[in-house]
C-alpha cells in the first residue's frame, strides 16, 4: 500500500486524537447527524467566546458607513433606491482579518486541553491568525499551506501569508499543488500530537459567531434599525455559517447573502491553473464544492454548513473586486483586501436595487500588503500571460483575462440559482449513499441542510433517482 493511503486509512483515528469532539456521537444515520446538538455541546457559548476574545485582543472592530461609496451608489440608482453600505473593519483584529476570531477560540481550547502545539491547514489569513494566538498563549504552531506550482513559482499572496506566519513565530510547511496536502496534514498531526485547529470545527464556528452578533449590535447602535441584509464573502462556508448564527443569536433574522469571485473554468487541483488565479480564497473553487458537500473538510462532520444559512448567492468577477478595492482606498481611505472585498463588490451592485432606507452590511475587511495588494496580483497575472482589459467584466474569462469595469455601473452581480446548488447537494448525497433507504428523520435533516421544505427534498430526490 502506498504511503498516502496508509495515512488516509488512519484518518479517523488521527482526527479523533487531534480534536476532542466525538463527532460520531452525533451520527443519527448514514446521512443524518445532529448538527445543533454538536454545536451546543462542543462549541463555546457566545458570551464566553466574547470574553475569551476580549482577553486576546480580538473583536469589537469598527463598523464604518461608506459615505462616499454610498453617494456613488445613490448617483447610480433610480429614485428612492440605493441602500447604505456599512463595512465591518475586521482588518483591525490582530493578524489583520476576521480569522483571528476563529483562531482565538480554537487555540484557547487547545491550551485548555493541554496540547503542546496547534496545526492548521490553510493558505489563507487563518495561518497568521493561528500563529498570533499561539504566540500569545505560548504554544507551538505549524501551518500547512498550498504554495507553489511544479515550476517552483509561488502565488504572491501566499508568500505574504507565509511571511506573516513566520513573523509570529510559527513553522510553515509549504506544499506543491494538490489535495495530498491533507495527507501531509494528517501525517504531521500524527507525528506531533498537536491540536487540529480546523476551520470547520465547532470551535472555529463558535469563535466567529461573535462577528455576526457584533454586526447586528453595531447597526442597531448606529442606525436604530436592524440590518436589511448581511453580505458575506463565501469560500469554505464557515464565515457564512457563523455570521448567520451570530446574527440570529442577536435576535436578527435578516437575509444572509453569500458572495464569491467567479473562477469557473479553473480547476482547483490543477498544477497548471494554480497560478492563473488572482484570488486564493473567497472564490467559487471553494464556494461551490463546500456548499454542495460541506464534509469534504478536515473534520468528520463540518460545523460550517453554508446551505443551511444561505438566502442568496451572488458572484462577481475578479476585475470587479479589484475596482472596488481601489474605490475603497481612494474614496474611503481604507486600503484593504482584495479578497475580503468580494462581498463589497457584490454589495455595491446589490445596493442599487434596494430601497434607500435599507442597510446593507458587508461584514469583513482584511489587511493588505505586498503580495496581497491588487497591484501585486494584477502584475502577477500579467506575468502569467493574463490580459488586463477595461470593459464589461461579464466578458472576463478566469485564467485568460481580467476585465476592470469601464465604469462603476458595469459592476453587475450574477445570481446563482440556489435550487441548482441544493440539487447538487442532494446528488452528492445520493452518490455517497446510493442504496440508502431514507427515513423520515433523514428527509427532515436534508430539508434543514438545504433550507427548504421536506416536500421539495422528496420531489427532487424522486426526480434524481428517476422515479
Amino acid at each position: 500500500m502506498n504511503k498516502a493511503q496508509a495515512i488516509l486509512d488512519r484518518k479517523h483515528e488521527i482526527l479523533r486524537n487531534s480534536i476532542d469532539v466525538d463527532f460520531l456521537k452525533y451520527k443519527r444515520s448514514d446521512i443524518a447527524f445532529d448538527y445543533e446538538k454538536m454545536m451546543e455541546e462542543t462549541g463555546y457559548p457566545i458570551e464566553e467566546a466574547i470574553r475569551i476574545q476580549r482577553s486576546l485582543g480580538v473583536g469589537s472592530t469598527p463598523m464604518l458607513e461608506l459615505k462616499n461609496i454610498n453617494s456613488l451608489i445613490r448617483s447610480l440608482s433610480k429614485p428612492e433606491k440605493g441602500a447604505r453600505i456599512f463595512l465591518k473593519d475586521e482588518a483591525c483584529n490582530l493578524s489583520g482579518s476576521f480569522k483571528a476570531r476563529r483562531a482565538a477560540i480554537s487555540v484557547y481550547h487547545a491550551k485548555k486541553l493541554g496540547y503542546k502545539g496547534v496545526m492548521a491547514a490553510t493558505s489563507g489569513n487563518y495561518g497568521a491568525a493561528v500563529a498570533v494566538m499561539c504566540a500569545k498563549l505560548n504554544l507551538k504552531c505549524i501551518i500547512v499551506q498550498e504554495s507553489f506550482d511544479s515550476m517552483g513559482i509561488y502565488q504572491p499572496e501566499i508568500i505574504e501569508k507565509a511571511r506573516a506566519i513566520e513573523a509570529y513565530g510559527a513553522e510553515v510547511v509549504q506544499c506543491s499543488v494538490g489535495p495530498e496536502l491533507f495527507v501531509v496534514f494528517l501525517d504531521l498531526l500524527k507525528q506531533t500530537g498537536y491540536f487540529n485547529a480546523s476551520l470547520y470545527s465547532p470551535y472555529g464556528i463558535a469563535g466567529l459567531e461573535t462577528l455576526g452578533m457584533e454586526c447586528v449590535d453595531d447597526i442597531r447602535r448606529l442606525t436604530k434599525k436592524d440590518p436589511t441584509a448581511i453580505v458575506v464573502t463565501h469560500a469554505g462556508g464557515g464565515n457564512l455559517t457563523a455570521t448567520a448564527r451570530g446574527a440570529k443569536k442577536a435576535g436578527c433574522d435578516c437575509p444572509i447573502i453569500a458572495a464569491s469571485v467567479d473562477l469557473h473554468g479553473l480547476h482547483m487541483a490543477s498544477d497548471h491553473d494554480f497560478n492563473l488565479k488572482s484570488f486564493t480564497t473567497g472564490h467559487t473553487g471553494f464556494g461551490f464544492p463546500f456548499a454542495i458537500y460541506p464534509d469534504r473538510s478536515d473534520v468528520i462532520y463540518s460545523a460550517a454548513r453554508p446551505l443551511r444559512y444561505m438566502d442568496r448567492y451572488l458572484l462577481v468577477k475578479q476585475g470587479e473586486v479589484f475596482y472596488m478595492t481601489e474605490a475603497l482606498a481612494k474614496l474611503e481611505g481604507m486600503e484593504r483586501g482584495p479578497a475580503g472585498n468580494t462581498s463589497l463588490a457584490a454589495a455595491f451592485s446589490l445596493a442599487q436595487s434596494m430601497s434607500k432606507d435599507d442597510i446593507l452590511v458587508v461584514q469583513e475587511t482584511e489587511y493588505t500588503s505586498a503580495g496581497k495588494h491588487y497591484n501585486a496580483q494584477l502584475s502577477f497575472a500579467k506575468s502569467n500571460g493574463i490580459e488586463i482589459l477595461i470593459g464589461d467584466p461579464k466578458g472576463e474569462i478566469a485564467g485568460t483575462t481580467i476585465v476592470l469595469p469601464s465604469k462603476p455601473s458595469d459592476i453587475q452581480l450574477q445570481e446563482v440559482d440556489l435550487n441548482q446548488l441544493r440539487r447538487s447537494y442532494l446528488r452528492q448525497q445520493l452518490k455517497l449513499h446510493p442504496d440508502g433507504v431514507l427515513s423520515k428523520d433523514d428527509l427532515i435533516y436534508l430539508s434543514m441542510e438545504c433550507k427548504v421544505s421536506v416536500e421539495w427534498i422528496v420531489s427532487v430526490l424522486m426526480e434524481l433517482r428517476g422515479e
Binding site: I159, R163, E171, G178, A269, H373, N375, I390, K407
Partner: protein, 102 residues
C-alpha cells in the same frame, strides 16, 4: 553556496512521487511529484545547495530534504506600476464631485 551548521536554510522534500499520487486529480498535476518546502537550521556541518541535508525546524522536528536556499528571504512586492488602473481614481473622483456623468 555553502551553508554551515546552524544556518537558516530552505529544503525541498519529495513527499510523494508522481506514481504515488491520488488517482482523482487532474492529469497535469498527476505528472508532477508532490513536494514540501520547509525552513530550519542546518544540522549537518557543511552542505551546498543541491545536497541532501537535515534541518531542525521551529517545532524541533528533524527533517531531511534537498538544500535549495541559504538564508531565504522575502522579496515579494506591491507589483509594477499598472497604467491600466490609472483611470479608476480619476473616474471615481469626478463622478463623486458631479463632474462626470456616466
Amino acid at each position: 553556496m555553502l551553508a554551515v551548521k546552524g544556518d537558516w536554510v530552505l529544503i525541498e522534500q519529495v513527499y510523494l512521487t508522481s506514481d504515488q499520487r491520488q488517482s482523482n486529480i487532474p492529469d497535469d498535476t498527476k505528472e508532477t511529484d508532490f513536494c514540501l518546502r520547509v525552513k530550519g537550521f542546518l544540522v549537518n556541518e557543511k552542505k551546498v545547495v543541491g545536497d541532501s541535508c537535515i534541518i531542525l525546524t521551529k517545532t524541533n522536528r528533524k527533517i531531511e530534504g534537498k538544500l535549495i536556499d541559504i538564508f531565504p528571504n522575502f522579496d515579494h512586492s506591491f507589483g509594477d506600476y499598472l497604467p491600466e488602473t490609472a483611470y479608476i481614481e480619476t473616474q471615481l473622483k469626478e463622478m463623486l464631485s458631479g463632474g462626470l456623468d456616466e
